[in-house]
Symmetry: C2
Subunit: 399 residues, 2 copies
Amino acid sequence: MSDLLITNVRPEDGPAADILISGGRIASIGPGLAAPPGCPVHDGKGAIAIAPLVEPHVHLDKILWGLPWHPINVPAGLRAMIDNEVEIRKSLPWSVEDRAGRLMRQCVAMGSTHIRSHVDISTFYGLDNLHGVLAAWEKMQDAVGLELVAFPQTGMLIDPGCAALMEAALDEGASVVGGIDPGTIDGDPKGHLDTIFGIADRKGAKIDIHLHEPGELGLYEMGLICDRTEALGLQGRVVVSHAFCLGDGPPDKVAAMIDRLAALQVGIISAVPGEIAFPPMFDLAARGVPCALASDSIRDTWNPHGNGDMLDRCWLFAFRSWCRTDAELLACLDLGTARGAALLGLPGYGLAPGCEGSLVLVEGENRAQVLVDRPARALVVKAGRIVAEAGRYAGPGAP
Amino acid sequence: MSDLLITNVRPEDGPAADILISGGRIASIGPGLAAPPGCPVHDGKGAIAIAPLVEPHVHLDKILWGLPWHPINVPAGLRAMIDNEVEIRKSLPWSVEDRAGRLMRQCVAMGSTHIRSHVDISTFYGLDNLHGVLAAWEKMQDAVGLELVAFPQTGMLIDPGCAALMEAALDEGASVVGGIDPGTIDGDPKGHLDTIFGIADRKGAKIDIHLHEPGELGLYEMGLICDRTEALGLQGRVVVSHAFCLGDGPPDKVAAMIDRLAALQVGIISAVPGEIAFPPMFDLAARGVPCALASDSIRDTWNPHGNGDMLDRCWLFAFRSWCRTDAELLACLDLGTARGAALLGLPGYGLAPGCEGSLVLVEGENRAQVLVDRPARALVVKAGRIVAEAGRYAGPGAP
């Protein structure tokens, strides 16, 4: 909750102005603001100021970020990749806390000041992953907001005891109940979803379900998710991540599903896969469905790609969607900033007086060019505190 | 044709070695090489050495690289984009020479030491684009190889006189005859291809045809291209760029076409579109078709994306192809290096004694990691001459 005067910036690439943050909130934006006594001043040097990037889907406990190169060597198929990960994680040289801390610092350096992360819960992990991630976050709470999803990566009904651990996780720092491919992992769509929604209902938690299952199967399960959202009055508190079925399902059924998602305010998060179809994000946005982009898997046992940079992810979405006009490019940026904040329900998000004093400075001509070129973030501010500068983490615990 | 001793590098991420270049060619690679009298020495500091990147398809005359941000504002459709470009290029503040020079320096800085560029030829451009690009290249021939394609972007048969200008271009520095979508631009597949192949036959030139036309139409025209390649004995001298039809055509017909392309050594270049299907490059490579990746359109009136970095393009291909293992990642890099050189028939390409003394140094753990992270090129060497260092052009005319 700090004070900071940032001079000579261009909010949303508009005319030059100063931004005064008082007590962690934006007090005013305008030309020629004076620094209150004792308030630090940062010269923005004409950089563009934007509200922070938002990372709504990542796996902080899975990450190998910062470790020596890990050659991926795993048969295709979800189950094989899950089992492979469990085996490798038995002998990593760094703890969950070490690895999660490294990635959080990277996310902050790239301009994300809020993260929703899934953490694997199972009877063999127990709550270790949750505790490890929370231990890392404890040291840098002033730099980044964090929301944790109790995620049954390795299966829930097929791992008796897992659901109880997920419920316990909600008492120890998680606030969202996760789920995964109810048909193919647990082999029981009804059982999987009833359990998850039951936990959420009892604990007043949100829900965020990984749904990779394609086409008609995915749409069927999305329908089950909507049924339960409606029955339990969980409108606005349920998210489906990945939702490939909205990309590859029959167009008429997808259109009908989008209407239902909008009515129930069920959110959709996409990590922009490179090789398969993904949800029609612009259609979702236009029709009122909460929606956002995310990094998902980054340099872990599943995938060698990724860097925790949501600006990069927004550009990948632009590239995958053949966006060319400035309006299209800005709509891509929106999916990694304001729409992410709205989907997660972040209070006080925005670049306006009264909002949280969090922002990103980046040098460039305008936001469209910044999206295309993805320059290093010149400054990242969280609630009035400088947490990254010149592309490097500068928050609590920085070297 | 310079001498250079580069010490302490890891060729192809193998054991540490020195590389001695004499008279522009690699004389030896091994540990503890001594510098001949007067030979400059560069400390590679443990960087990985690879043979240079190859840029086989770019449009040096179209580029707006370095100019203020150009907001794209053009209706969809190939004809609309072509007409839009012609209009905008009437009033650009920089000449073709200025713009082409800037992009060539950028390509070299990113590690490409050979470029094949198309240049627009038409009755209203005349040979101005060819002359402008050649004027830029004249000043930096020691930094980069250049091969030019006389390209009828705006139509050939529908622009009487264009074909004669294309033929004239071959006398003034171009060495490849271009073509574009015979069915939809000129509206005459037979006429378009007969004209192009006629010019190539008379002038002993190579051929490189833009083929965006999809599915059955594209495959039909590719068949016509193969017919003429065979009839005129142009095996190994014809390339089809883009070739979307190999990505979206009926699988059995695509398979048959790949066999024919292999038999005739007709090459395929893909720029890795973000939103549509592209040729199955690994299948092409496995079945003996010359094939490579390329940047194509970069920051021009068509497209705001791109940066002239072939390592970036190889990564995009990896991302679009869900490549995860080291072997897969190295195969992607191959499509931007050795396969590009083979497709263009570059003599002496490679990182071995006797090859041209051209190479790229990049800091990293191994080539797979370098492909994923795409760090700045530490050093770029062309025939023994340092032409870029620390990501910046350092060849003839460098600031």
